[in-house]
Symmetry: C3
């Protein structure tokens, strides 16, 4: 047995060495069913993406108004993110389906930033979402309805800038200074526009399936030199069509704009409520009218299968179905109803007033595959002088979505 | 020796734990020499791509006809695909080299779909190839010649839709309803065009190196509202030039179009034969002529190094050389000859009649690296009134290709 | 103890089998803190990218000259490369931030090539940088200043072609024949332009922190048929603006152009010197003047933290800080000063003469995260007849950069 023991020890030593060698790369891979993550000693790296496919049918009330039944790839993202050593994060996200414009390539750039978390607050540099709006800040993967409500007419979207952010169990804040978007102002040589934007949220109740959220955000926008212009407009909560029922057209002589956003939301188990209001004050010179524009929405959502909308750091997050299709389950089922209103008319600017009612059904087959159907009824459209005045459009929109 | 045994057992226990820990990620990676695949317990994820580089020289017979000698990146794909739980698949493919148009970003979107295989047939939603045409459905990586034959003038390409498909050892079928392509109809607001397309194949002989394939496909196309127009045209089996020798120009007042496709192919060891015919019936209103257009090709291919063209589920697949360059081998060598004909002339529409002869040589250095040379002779070009009438063009095209 | 030994042997056998199984994929992953590499038995595969974010403020001396303060995503690369069997390499690199043009999609294609290293020299086919210019050939990640010097007006950039290259400890050479860039000449049907380009370098001293480099390069360019035109112009060492202070406008009737480049560089520990000169001879027909144009720069760089600029195979390479932010260090700090001059005026062509002085500070927080600030002073701008004549612009440019 002495011989045998020496023999065994030899085999164990070889195993130990092999195991050490196989770990030398210092990288382990894991997946959460969506994307793939690699973790090295000092680094992590994650590759993912998202695909949203839409089909829509429109029923116009007035002859001559065409909205274009059809299909569309709504979003097709590639998404790379990672961390470097202890305190550095980065993210790069590109949308291959982002429609045209003067510089289509750069238009597809979405998140593109570097973050340092060695201090509190964290510092972020690059292109990222301005901290404004509860629905705007939720990922398009997790919005309750297929498209955001009419407050989206005032959404700042992502811009290149620098920001500070921090959060606790019951609060978050974020503030930043921003220039234009990645595709903005490459060739025209006036100065870019810029923004100062900030948001605070307070969550007195923040438990599992029990949330009360309050939010307040402000944004000061100074437009770019070269055009000195701006435009607010919005599609009828469906992006297969390119028609905007409300549209201020180009606003000239804009000096600056203030945006004020108010948010409230609550979750009681499978039921949740959410509402938001944005007020916009446009100051103009050269004798043009100042404008007061506004929009708001409110909605209720109910999970028939008992899930709760998850909330994290001031925004709503990914739904995890209690059972999964493909693993013997039926997924999660949600119904929701939203009222949404925007008023883009003030003084001599007749952008229009729109009131929408949207009924939505979501089927979360797995935590990363969702099918949605929305019926959108325009209750009221008051835009005198436009071909769309009084157009009480009915729309049915379908979406298939996966993120990976 | 008792002490020694306890000691050894201790070391074995540590090894067992370490091995368990190192497997915790639940992901293993593998590569087939082309792309990289990760398999987790419930998920797989694969990243790949393809690169095709072309150079071409043209010899026009008539003065004043210029075809543009030069180089081109023909295709540059990024390709992500995967599966989620037991029955869900997805794929996203983007072509960075896809040339311009009104919306260049979305034009690059190729495959972009979600598939559920829990039923038989499988259900696919998204953008994918309409099931029509043996050469069209083969990957551009595996076509015998650098470009597809003149039947390609009638190729439906990929469109956004929903499809059903199934297959057995001796048959396949696929059927689908489709809207437009991803870049189609974003801004113009008539309804999109749509298609119903179906294909069945029968393979009485389907063995290793021995295949007899028969196929039949039909497609009904209704054009979009806004333009109500269509155009058939085709380059001379070489895409470095932008000249189309045959071109119907825009066809107005099109009501609908029926396409009928017939396919036959056979493999006998290193020799294979393949042929296809497409008949197209354009119905027009407002007094415009109805049109009968058609195209066909036939070719033979021979592997000098003894490989056979592999066939799988109704299409031809990747060649695996018997020996590999870089592992002491010489790769696979193939010669092939194709006759190809298209007739785009009927009634008042003089799109032209073209007959081509193409001689091709393929060198498959490895299973994912191919070099090809094609000589294309236009035997006949009958298009009265066009500058290209009677242009018996000679072309030499070279391609280098890798997929990863 | 006999039983115990048999027992232990059993456990060892299971471990050995498990370890074998876990390695069956044949792939191991590793990261260098930037990108991720997978190595299989016959294959490697690497995914990475780069992000460069710029902000700039301009102070024009003359009223009416606007340069456009603002922000920009300067580069956003996705980068895939790998090897197949023993002798095949490939690389595919796309820049999502590359600004517009007639075919924006293809414009983003950067490296896209296949290489065979089974012979000496190595053979490369595809799109890659023409071998010309020390600063041009360095990755944009590793240039000492935010933008390259004014010699960049004559940079050939990447083109589609075939090249041979080889190197030893004290020398390198590279030679190639090239057509146009990937986005060049898709639609216009004259022949493409083409280049023959070659470069040799000699490094009599090539040690750690001690380098003497000499280089000589030549390029013969024949322009494309269709436009028969060319243009030399350059931004003021800052790419947030689109204004070019010097610009020959389109040069017609160009027959061919010869470029001659001379390079010298030296490293002595933390100090390095580098200089380059390009002479350009434009031969024109139809009675248009022949032109002699030129540009040169010289700079010095000093690492305050003691690092040395690394040199490899005829170009400068990535800085590795001696200490790293996020691992208790302060990173690497470098100061540098460059003088740069271009003369685009000859005969009747008044492209302008520019002299710049640039002061740069680089902070390499980690080996893949860099922050840079440049102050650029236009010392002289002599371009009679242009609105920019005598415009002694001051610019401040900031950059944040990560590569992954």
């Amino acid at each position: 047995t002495d011989v045998s023991a020496r023999d065994l020890e030899q085999r164990i030593r070889i195993l130990e060495e092999k195991l050490e060698t196989s770990k030398k790369g210092g990288v382990t891979a894991s997946t959460n069913g969506r994307s793939l993550t690699f973790n090295g000693d000092d680094f992590s790296f994650q590759v993912g993406g998202r695909l949203q496919l839409d089909a829509a049918a429109y029923d116009a009330e007035q002859d001559g108004n065409e909205f274009g039944n059809g299909t569309r790839v709504r979003r097709l993202f590639l998404d790379v993110r990672g961390s470097v050593y202890e305190h550095w994060n980065y993210r790069f996200q590109y949308d291959f389906a982002r429609p045209g414009g003067s510089d289509t390539s750069a238009r597809g750039i979405r998140d593109a930033w570097i973050q340092y978390t060695g201090f509190s607050p964290a510092i972020t540099v690059g292109q990222f979402k301005e901290p404004f709006g509860l629905e705007h800040l939720a990922s398009s993967l997790h919005t309750t309805f297929i498209e955001r409500g009419l407050t989206n007419a005032f959404t700042p979207d992502r811009r290149i800038g620098i920001g500070l952010s921090d959060n606790g169990q019951h609060w978050t804040y974020a503030v930043g200074a921003f220039g234009e978007t990645a595709e903005g102002d490459v060739a025209s040589e006036g100065n870019e526009g810029w923004d100062i934007t900030g948001r605070v949220t307070y969550t007195p109740v923040n438990g599992d399936g029990k949330v009360v959220h309050l939010g307040l955000a402000g944004r000061q926008h100074t437009p770019e030199d070269s055009t000195n212009s701006l435009r607010f407009r919005e599609r009828p909560e469906s992006n297969v069509t390119d028609v905007r029922l409300i549209d201020t057209s180009t606003l000239n002589d804009v000096e600056d704009i203030q945006f004020l956003g108010l948010e409230a939301a609550a979750v009681f188990g499978p039921l949740s409520l959410q509402g938001e209001r944005v007020d916009t004050q446009v100051s103009r010179d050269s004798g043009a009218d100042d404008l007061d524009l506004s929009a708001w929405y409110a909605y209720a959502s109910l999970f028939l299968t008992g899930e709760s909308r998850p909330y994290k750091n001031g925004v709503f997050d990914r739904i995890k179905p209690k059972s999964t299709v493909g693993k013997g389950g039926i997924g999660a089922w949600e119904v929701a109803l939203r009222y949404s209103e925007a008023d883009l008319t003030d003084g001599s600017v007749i952008g229009g007033e729109e009131e929408n009612l949207t009924l939505g059904v979501n089927w979360y087959a797995t935590q990363n595959i969702r099918f949605a159907a929305n019926y959108i009824k325009v209750l009221e459209l008051d835009r005198p002088g436009s071909q769309y005045d009084d157009e009480k459009l009915d729309s049915v929109v379908l979406r298939a979505q996966i993120d990976f």
